[in-house]
């Protein structure tokens, strides 16, 4: 059984304008020791999915349906103290912006040791040893001296290393990394990716990696989940999704995103705007932007179907694999 299994998750924000369906029926799995990428345009609900798993959706947001089965337990039904016991312990998260995610008035030793003392019952000395070990692990030199320093004394890349060290402190079973490189300079991004790759090979944690960078996906992950407007539109192995993507949105996404490990001739943005999440469409949410949209696409939501290499929710599938292939080659 998978370590994490999400079934039909729905998370909405109840704003004064109405209900924003940020996550609208998402299902996927992450296996033990597996690294899975969650990709999609900004605002499609990736972070909200991550926060839902962590049980940290900020108000006015709320998980309103579905199940999040983690190690056999449904997190949506877990009590506050039980959920806290998992957070930072077996389930941890690295957030997007390392500049604002560390407390500016507490030193590194305190911030990194905090989780260890709480979850592992370590005393100050043991926690300190472990923090030193972690700093070495994530490649922060002069760890001894840096323990007493504060976040502002670290560069952006170093702070992200600290965040990673903090998330790994209690050797979690699962690590959720929400765009861990987006806020960094390109050269620093490459270093952090290298670090993640190295850690991946050394540690046994499962990883859910949210990213815009297809380069990291290729280098780090086994499977890809593509989200659009609060829904999963396609899933599959990295090879399948990169070499033989099925959903027109995935085609557009692959052409629009940069890859650090490859030089692309040019990036082609997907024309049009992501839909308004306040009004849920009757049909496929991508239909208004889709070159191949058919009459049925705007009328009825396509079901998620299992293909040879993964799953996809698209009416084009009804036309058979040859038609899908021809349509895709039209773009390329």
């Amino acid at each position: 059984m998978a370590l994490l299994e999400i079934r039909n998750l729905r998370t909405s924000f109840f704003t004064h304008l109405g209900e924003v369906k940020a996550v609208d029926g998402v299902s996927f799995q992450v296996g033990e020791g597996e690294a899975v990428a969650l990709v999609g345009e900004s605002g499609c609900g990736k972070s909200v999915t991550a926060l839902s798993i962590m049980g940290l959706v900020p108000p006015p947001g709320k998980v309103i349906g579905g199940e999040i089965i983690f190690a056999g337990e449904d997190l949506t039904k877990l009590s506050g103290p039980k959920m806290r016991h998992l957070r930072g312990n077996v389930l941890s998260m690295i957030s997007q912006d390392p500049m604002t995610s560390l407390n500016p008035v507490l030193n590194i030793e305190t911030q990194l040791g905090e989780g260890l003392r709480l979850h592992k019952g370590m005393d100050a000395k043991a926690a300190r040893e472990r923090v030193l070990e972690l700093l070495n692990l994530v490649g922060i030199p002069e760890a001894e001296r840096r323990l007493r320093q504060y976040p502002h004394e670290f560069s952006g890349g170093m702070r992200q290393r600290l965040m990673i060290a903090m998330a790994l402190a209690c050797s979690p079973k699962m690590l959720i990394a929400d765009e861990p490189t987006t806020a960094l300079d390109v050269t620093i991004q490459a270093q952090i990716i290298e670090l993640l790759k190295e850690l991946k090979s050394r540690l046994s944690s499962s990883i859910l990696l949210i990213t815009h960078d297809m380069g990291i996906v290729a280098g780090l992950c086994q499977r890809v989940i593509v989200m659009y407007a609060g829904r999963v539109v396609e899933t599959g192995s990295v090879e399948a999704v990169f070499d033989d993507p099925q959903h027109p949105y995935t085609w557009g996404l692959l052409r629009s995103l940069p890859r650090l490990d490859q030089r692309k001739e040019r990036l082609v943005p997907i024309p049009g705007q992501p839909p308004d999440l306040l009004a849920s469409p009757q049909g496929c949410p991508f239909a208004p932007r889709c070159r191949w949209a058919m009459r049925i696409c705007v009328k009825q939501m396509p079901e998620m179907i299992t293909t040879a290499k993964g799953t996809v929710a698209c009416w084009l599938q009804e036309l058979g694999p040859q038609a899908v292939k021809r349509a895709r080659e039209e773009v390329a």
């Binding site: 962590m54 940290l56 930072g88 995610s101 560390l102 407390n103 500016p104 008035v105 709480l118 903090m166």
Partner: protein, 298 residues
């Protein structure tokens, strides 16, 4: 710092000498001989520059000279007897204000837009807008007259500190509550608070360890001037509760054109203010690691 004090002392001295009239001016002209005697005693007919030099020299030795109005009392005497009283009252009031204001602000921020918030902010609005003398009268009526829990006035016993301190604490407590609420709300929306939650810390731990320290920094800034102001005494409160503090003397001295007292207390106040601000700056460095004392570049 010394420069600031020198400027203040000089400006006060100049102002004092520009304003027409003197301590001995009264409706009825004094006999010429008496007037000359007095002027000689207080050296009022020395040239201005000489009086200034004398004054400065005495100031350095912390000799503030005799009072013009109270025969036989020096300004030092007045400060020595009045300041401790005002200081005890002031420090108690500030402590009360912190004790009431900060928890109220934290509570309001945590229960934003729910009834505890509404209640706390309503109380804060009252606290900010009701002048201390009305507060004092109210407190006196309820706790001294009706309930008879505390004495109504005078000074000397600890129980006599309570009511005036409460009256003085009203405004700063309300101010602290609003300031704490605002900065707490700001801090609670920061990413690092989410990080703290993501570690599995309890809400209490997140607030106490992660949010409060950041949220209290703005309050700290306000503490220096507030302490200096409140420690030098409040004329109104001291008058109402018949407390022999520095505030009473200060205001009375202005009525009486008691130059030396005005000058002395003003300079004393400035020293206090500058010192407290300096201490606040030092405290800042302890509280906020991002701030470092930088050498003033010339």
């Amino acid at each position: 710092m010394l420069l600031v004090l020198w400027v203040i002392a000089t400006v006060t001295f100049i102002l004092m000498n520009i304003i027409p009239g003197g301590p001995f001016a009264s409706e009825k002209p004094l006999p010429e001989a008496v007037k000359r005697n007095i002027e000689a005693r207080y050296r009022l007919n020395d040239p201005l520059w000489k009086r200034y030099v004398d004054y400065m020299w005495n100031l350095i030795r912390w000799d503030l000279g005799p009072s013009f109005k109270y025969e036989g009392r020096t300004v030092n005497d007045i400060i020595n007897s009045g300041f401790p009283v005002s200081a005890i009252l002031g420090v108690t009031a500030v402590a009360l204000a912190l004790l009431l204001g900060i928890p109220a602000g934290v509570l309001a921020a945590l229960k934003q837009n729910k009834w505890p918030d509404t209640l706390a902010m309503l109380a804060a609005t009252v606290g900010v807008s009701v002048p201390s003398f009305i507060m004092a009268t109210f407190l006196m009526y309820i706790f001294a007259y009706k309930l008879r829990w505390f004495p109504a006035a005078l000074w000397g016993r600890p129980s006599q500190v309570v009511l005036p301190a409460l009256a003085l604490a009203g405004f700063p407590a309300a101010f602290f509550a609003r300031l704490t609420r605002a900065s707490m709300l700001e801090v609670l929306s920061e990413d690092f608070i989410r990080t703290a939650h993501a570690k599995g810390l309890s809400t209490t731990a997140v607030i106490v360890r992660h949010a409060l320290k950041c949220a209290l920094i703005p309050i700290f800034t306000y503490l220096g001037p507030l302490l200096a102001q409140i420690m030098t005494g409040s004329f109104v409160i001291e008058k109402i509760f018949a407390i022999p503090g520095l505030g009473q003397h200060y205001v009375t001295s202005i009525y009486n054109r008691d130059y030396t007292v005005i000058l002395g207390v003003t300079v004393f106040y400035s020293i206090l203010l500058v010192t407290l601000n300096f201490l606040v700056d030092l405290g800042y460095i302890l509280l906020d690691p991002r701030i470092k004392l930088t050498e003033p570049s010339s």
